[in-house]
């Protein structure tokens, strides 16, 4: 691992809570690491767990999925589905030997700009500890 290694994080945020929370962090000028790039989806329930695998395969060193707190889902139940699906995926990936530090899930509400910062910092820090995930890269092999 080189000293100037910067982990590449892909994050999936629900439109109503977490994306709004990240926007709030912006309007509040909260500073956090630039390693994170956000893909907006309407609901955390939209996040196919295989996106996580796909992101790791395609160059991400860490993945974050964030949605509304339980009970606050704009679509009532989407985050509950996300929780079950991604919980399963996390177990599966850990069993296959993917460092659990590479994948996090969080609940960040529209009013939690500061929590968003904390979540990003934790995700980046953990991915940094886990190091580059080159072994699983799609193009690493006979590309």
């Amino acid at each position: 691992m080189s000293d100037n290694y910067e982990p590449n994080i892909v994050a999936f945020l629900c439109n109503w809570c977490s994306y709004a929370g990240a926007d709030l962090a912006g309007t509040s000028r909260v500073q956090y690491p630039a390693n994170i790039q956000v893909i907006r989806v309407m609901c955390s329930g939209r996040v196919n767990p295989l996106y996580v695998m796909n992101a790791l395969q395609q160059g991400a060193d860490g993945v974050l999925v964030s949605g509304c707190h339980p009970g606050d889902c704009h679509y009532m139940e989407g985050n509950f589905y996300a929780r079950r699906r991604l919980g399963m995926l996390k177990d599966l990936m850990e069993f296959v030997g993917v460092d659990p530090k590479r994948f996090h899930m969080s609940w960040v509400s529209a009013s939690e700009g500061h929590k968003w910062k904390e979540v990003v910092e934790k995700t980046v820090e953990d991915a940094r500890e886990a190091g580059p995930f080159e072994g699983f890269r799609r193009r690493q092999i006979d590309w």
Partner: protein
């Protein structure tokens, strides 16, 4: 095993007008091999067997039959399919009912209580392969190998398939005709295969699976043999979008195997077919059983038991575990 009762029941079933055929097992073309057989008339029932070599889960054939376009005016064949199942196989039938892959009225389940089947590769390893057809029978607590007039007693643990050591449902959970008496359940062994991997650290597990997935030749036999992989158009074959590239390399093989296991989480009924058919000997059962264990222990759910159950992947509980959430 009451072969006479099996053949008699089978003959009655296939004689019905509303039955298309009966899917069972017959002796294979050589050695220990057993092959699936599709019996359409009473003459065919003589081929049927049920022995410790009948490992294949025939449930997969319920959804494997292609629905090719019918000429205009021609009616689809709506006759029932009769099917021989062991305990594990029967859970696949139930799970298919849950997922509407089949409807109850389309199938006649012939349940075969199962004292456990043998792992053919162990048999070959210990007793050698042969081109002559041989017989293996249940014998008291173990098995009996009959080869060229010679009878060899085999202790149960020596060749019992791993999935059977862990089995919790030796008797069919659903059946229309039960052949013979239910067998007494045994206490399932500790799943050491999974526990040993669990005990490793993540890097150790990654190393383990790296070696395994590198062997994968992507023949898709694991998927095709699985009674619950019955999508018309598997996402792993799809090009738009491409979830997994066709390229055969460690990255894509791993992605393929993760996806397959994920799609089976909360659905896999642990019949072990994927692992049995894998020409690369990848221990796929470990992944599936690991997920089944998580689903059972963390979510209190077991698939393939209740035809009225809500599908695990399409439901949630408000108090599902969330200790992993930041």
């Amino acid at each position: 095993m009451d072969l006479e009762q099996l053949r008699k029941t089978a003959a009655e079933v296939v004689a019905r007008d509303d039955v298309k055929y009966l899917i069972g097992w017959k002796k294979g073309s050589y050695g220990y091999r057993v092959a699936p057989v599709f019996v359409e008339d009473a003459a065919g029932v003589a081929e049927l067997i049920f022995s410790p070599l009948c490992t294949a889960n025939l449930t997969t054939y319920l959804t494997l039959v292609e629905k090719t376009p019918l000429p205009r005016g021609q009616e689809a064949d709506k006759r029932k399919v009769a099917l021989m199942v062991k305990g594990c196989d029967s859970r696949a039938v139930v799970q298919l009912l849950v997922e509407k892959g089949i409807h109850r009225e389309e199938v006649i389940v012939i349940g075969c209580p199962c004292p456990g089947v043998v792992d053919q590769s162990l048999l070959v390893e210990k007793y050698g392969d042969t081109e002559e057809p041989v017989e293996v029978k249940w014998n008291g607590d173990g098995f009996m190998l009959v080869r060229g007039g010679e009878e060899i007693k085999i202790p149960r643990d020596e060749v019992l398939a791993e999935k059977c050591r862990l089995c919790r449902y030796p008797n069919p959970v659903i059946s229309d005709h039960l052949i013979g008496a239910e067998v007494e359940k045994w206490s399932p062994a500790e799943d050491s295969g999974v526990s040993e991997l669990d005990a490793k650290d993540v890097d150790g597990r990654w190393e383990y699976w790296e070696e395994q997935f590198n062997k994968c030749i992507r023949c898709y036999s694991c998927r095709n043999v699985c009674p619950l992989c019955y999508c018309q158009d598997c996402i792993l074959d799809r090009l738009n979008p491409t979830w997994i590239n066709r390229a055969v390399n460690f990255s894509e093989n791993t992605a393929f195997n993760i996806s397959r296991a994920f799609h089976l989480a909360g659905r896999c009924i642990e019949c072990g077919e994927c692992e049995r058919v894998c020409p690369a000997n990848i221990p796929l059962g470990k992944i599936n059983r690991k997920m089944a264990r998580e689903v059972r222990e963390k979510y209190g759910f077991e698939p393939g038991l209740d035809p009225e159950a809500e599908p695990f992947q399409a439901s949630f509980k408000p108090d599902d575990p969330e200790d992993f959430i930041l």
